[in-house]
């Protein structure tokens, strides 16, 4: 979705409003719908409140005083009926968006297992003998199902530009589907408070063309697996500035340059 509010554009570059997947787009659409309704209702109600507060009181009794019925109509209509109608709209939009954003994927969807650890991400590509840490590559334009688990406490898998959060809960299996429509490097992070290293538990999701992706998988298959460089120091402080510069789609090249150097 577009960043509608120009002054805030500087911040939109990696948030949920700058979606790069059908899922994130649908959720952003729901946001704009709810924001529009909320804005209209807010100004309508504050205008009523403002009038009630500052209307000229010429000594005559108000209409509500003279006609208690009209007062009840005002309260039930404004406070009950109109919200009810709006809520039906909001609820319908919610259910529709839920179906779209949590789609079942497709028959040729790709599977990636992601396991949350204190405080890093283990990534496995089932059937391909490839693994990675704190970086996930996916082919652009393809449904990818992330099977999410945790090895210790509860974490939450979140790539704001691609979809909402899905919790990673020890003892249970959750999954979410993402289809990145634009090649690029996307910031991902843990969104559930998981302890001292929570702030630094980030990853990068790189969406790239199939050919590049295959190359990357081959490289990951060839390397010897190892624990990643820690993202946190012993006292929980983050190690160095991470992920700087890889903020926008189109920066994929720089992201690859950085991540390939890593584990």
């Amino acid at each position: 979705m577009v960043c509608a509010i120009g002054v805030l554009a500087s911040g939109c570059g990696r948030g949920m409003l700058d979606g790069q997947s059908p899922q994130a787009d649908r959720i952003a659409l729901l946001w704009w719908l709810l924001l529009s309704i909320a804005t209209v209702v807010f100004f309508a109600v504050t205008a009523l409140l403002g009038y009630a507060l500052f209307r000229r009181r010429g000594g005559a009794t108000s209409r509500f005083e003279r006609e208690p019925r009209s007062e009840m109509m005002f309260i039930i209509g404004g406070g009950g009926v109109i919200p009810l109608v709006l809520l039906v709209v909001v609820f319908a939009a919610t259910i529709a968006t839920m179906a779209a954003a949590s789609n079942d994927g497709s028959s040729d969807e790709m599977q990636i297992d992601v396991i949350g650890h204190d405080f890093w991400w283990e990534v496995r590509y089932p059937g391909q003998q490839a693994t990675a840490e704190n970086v996930i590559h996916v082919p652009v334009g393809r449904d990818v199902r992330f099977n999410l688990k945790s090895d210790d406490v509860i974490h939450s898998f979140w790539v704001p530009q691609l979809n909402g959060k899905t919790d990673m809960i020890p003892g249970s299996n959750n999954s979410t589907v993402i289809k990145a429509t634009t090649a690029g490097a996307y910031q991902g992070r843990c969104a559930e408070f998981c302890g001292i290293g929570h702030a630094c538990m980030t990853f990068i999701l790189v969406a790239e063309e199939q050919a590049q992706f295959d190359q990357w998988i081959a490289a990951q298959r060839a390397r010897s697996g190892a624990l990643p460089d820690p993202q946190t120091q012993d006292n929980g402080e983050c190690v160095g500035p991470k992920a700087s510069g890889v903020t926008r789609p189109g920066d994929a090249a720089s992201a690859r340059a950085k991540t390939e150097g890593a584990p």
């Binding site: 805030l8 500087s10 911040g11 939109c12 570059g13 990696r14 948030g15 949920m16 409003l17 994130a24 649908r26 959720i27 946001w31 709810l34 909320a38 504050t46 409140l49 009630a52 509500f64 005083e65 007062e71 009840m72 309260i75 404004g78 919200p83 009810l84 809520l87 909001v90 609820f91 919610t94 968006t97 839920m98 179906a99 954003a101 949590s102 406490v153 509860i154 939450s156 979140w158 704001p160 909402g164 959060k165 809960i169 020890p170 003892g171 959750n174 910031q187 992070r189 969104a191 408070f193 998981c194 302890g195 929570h198 702030a199 006292n235 929980g236 402080e237 983050c238 992920a243 510069g245």
Partner: protein, 626 residues
């Protein structure tokens, strides 16, 4: 002082300094202690908030490290909710004003009331002592397992939290029982249930909500303590336990808790608006129904805290609908308030200013509330700064602004002195602008991808300016509160004399002196409407049959639940050291459990049982009747 007042003072007043300090059962004394204690806790938790905002003022800041930061935000949330807002509203305002507003002489169970306070004080001290021991809880106010379980949180930090919460729950629950009985049985003759002030209604619904909401929390915290100390595995997935069980138990409590704070605040708003609009409240019955409806629905929305844990879509849809349904009674409330203002003739004083601020901010908190019930949108904004914005619009805008309004409104009754209007308005604008500066930008931070509960962030998120603005706003809020404290001190030194009814309000607390005598009312009001002091002269009658207490006993009328017809004569208990003794022995018991010192546990249990036995020992003549 008339002869009658002298006799009543001898019956209801405390005999000497020691009984006043350690044995009082006067609801007003207890309420003032609640208020002062709650404000001390607010000062500490507010400071914690400033520490967080200072750390987040600029990217990659090193003011506090992650460990300290986690302790600070855990204490901030826990203390603000459990030790400030809830006790101030219920133990403070509720305790002081429910008996006065219903024309009663005290709470139904005065000794239980004293016990509630002592338990609150000691459990708060227990929770807070962890901070000074450098072992403050660091798992968030929501304490999610397995992070807070024995494996990932060794050390006593989380034991302080869990035991403190269980201990405090005893105070909150006994308080709720006390309010329900007081409101049902001690209303002035004639105050039928449809003439009860709306604040009293709010307290009644909140008390019922407490009775149903606290057990899941106590159960959850007990299971957590058993996992931590006795090696059970309720929440341990490796041994067949389930971490989600904790989340259900916590939020079955946690979401009603929001309304446990909100409903008394709403009652305050419904009290202040008619007074300063000089007209009766519009749609009284609808407002009552709205409070009751919110109380009920609040138990059907807890899952919206858990939308991203992987529950099936049908249950998500159900709880989305439940959350949205709260909008209807809330909308009725807003429009009833606007209609009252519309009809009225406005007196712009500080309490009313805070209420207008409330009306504007609660709209925003309400809208974002609907947004987080929209499941997919919640998947994006949950656990982000957007939620921090939302919850503070509800809890600061929706609860703290009415609290300040109530302080300006009711402190003259408590102290007998007015607060300064000009300082009050400075307080309001500093706090209101500061509040919006702090929390409005957080909506954008969340939309831009900044999560909650992180001690730092990178400069390239587009978040730097927003965070700096939020920090400036936080210090403005603190400045506003300092202005309030200055105002309070000034009013105590040379505030104008309040008189009985400085605002020309309609409810009974203004029918007595400021501050009220120990017995509240010399004669018992016989009520004929919802705003007795606005009635034509003579409509409210005064029953003087209790003016001469027989045998110096504390006599009060017991009235029927619905119509408030006098049904019995109650003799209320006088001061006692037993509530303090029992609370102390329980505090020792909890400390014993915390450090697993079995001698302390045994001795404290024995002393506690003795205190209970003595408490219930039948007394001849007085003290045992209710």
């Amino acid at each position: 002082m008339t002869a009658a007042a002298g006799r009543l003072t001898r019956a209801w007043g405390e005999k000497n300094f020691l009984t006043t300090v350690f044995g009082t059962v006067d609801h007003k004394q207890i309420a003032m202690r609640y208020m002062i204690t709650a404000f001390v806790f607010m000062g500490e938790a507010g400071t914690a908030g400033l520490v967080m905002r200072t750390q987040l003022a600029v990217p990659n800041n090193t003011f506090v490290g992650p460990d300290h930061y986690n302790q600070v935000f855990t204490l901030h949330g826990t203390v603000m909710i459990f030790l400030f807002a809830t006790p101030l509203l219920i133990g403070g305002f509720g305790n002081y004003f429910v008996p006065l507003m219903i024309g009663a002489r005290d709470m139904a169970f005065p000794r239980l009331n004293a016990f509630s306070y002592w338990v609150y004080l000691f459990s708060g001290m227990l929770l807070y002592s962890s901070f000074f021991a450098g072992r403050a809880p660091n798992g968030g106010w929501f304490a999610y397992v397995p992070l807070t379980g024995p494996k990932y949180s060794p050390g006593t930090n989380l034991d302080f939290w869990a035991l403190g919460i269980i201990f405090l729950g005893i105070s909150t629950t006994s308080g709720a029982v006390n309010f329900i009985c007081t409101i049902f049985k001690l209303r002035a003759p004639g105050m039928s249930i449809n003439r009860m002030p709306l604040f009293v209604w709010g307290m009644l619904v909140t008390s019922f909500a407490i009775i149903f909401a606290l057990p899941p929390l106590t159960l959850g915290a007990s299971l957590l303590e058993m996992d931590r100390q006795f090696g059970t595995h309720f929440f341990d997935p490796d041994a067949g336990g389930n971490p989600l069980l904790w989340q259900h138990l916590f939020w079955v409590f946690g979401h009603p808790e929001v309304y446990i704070m909100f409903l008394p605040a709403v009652g305050i708003v419904s009290t202040i608006i008619p007074t300063f609009c000089r007209t009766r409240i519009a749609a009284y019955s609808l407002l009552v129904l709205a409070s009751v409806a919110i109380g009920f629905i609040s138990f059907g929305v807890w899952v919206h805290h858990m939308f991203s844990v992987g529950l099936p879509p049908l249950s998500l849809a159900f709880f989305a609908a439940g959350g949205m349904a709260i909008t209807i009674p809330s909308g009725i409330q807003i429009f009833a308030w606007i209609a009252t203002i519309w009809r009225g003739d406005i007196v712009w004083k500080t309490p009313f200013l805070f209420v207008v601020g409330f009306l504007v901010t609660i709209l925003i908190g309400g809208f974002t509330g609907v947004m987080v019930t929209a499941v997919p949108l919640d998947w994006q904004v949950t656990d982000s700064q957007f939620i921090v914005a939302h919850l503070h619009y509800v809890l600061v805008g929706g609860v703290v602004l009415p609290i300040f309004g109530a302080l300006y409104y009711w402190l003259p009754k408590i102290t007998g002195r007015m607060l300064d209007e000009r300082l009050g308005q400075i307080h309001f604008w500093l706090f209101f602008i500061g509040f919006n500066l702090t929390f409005f930008p957080m909506h954008f931070m969340g939309l831009f991808g900044m999560p909650r509960r992180v001690y730092t962030y990178e400069p390239d998120y587009g978040l730097t300016a927003l965070n700096l603005i939020a920090t400036v706003g936080a210090f403005m809020q603190a400045a506003g509160i300092l202005v309030f404290l200055a105002n309070f001190v000034k009013s105590m030194i040379r505030g104008d004399d309040a008189g009985d009814n400085p605002w020309n309000a309609g409810t009974l607390e203004w029918a007595t002196t400021s501050p009220p005598e120990p017995f509240n009312f010399r004669d018992v009001p016989v009520v004929a409407s919802a705003d007795p002091l606005w009635d034509a002269p003579g409509e409210t009658k005064w029953d003087d049959r209790l003016e001469d207490p027989r045998g110096g006993q504390r006599e009060a009328y017991g009235t029927s639940v619905v119509d408030a017809d006098v049904s019995e004569m109650l003799v209320m208990p006088g001061p006692s050291y037993l509530p303090l003794a029992l609370a102390l022995s329980m505090a020792a018991l909890f400390v014993g459990i915390l450090f697993q010192v079995f001698v302390v546990i045994a001795v404290a249990s024995a002393v506690g049982l003795c205190a209970v036995a003595l408490w219930f020992w039948p007394e001849e003549g007085n003290g045992a009747a209710i």
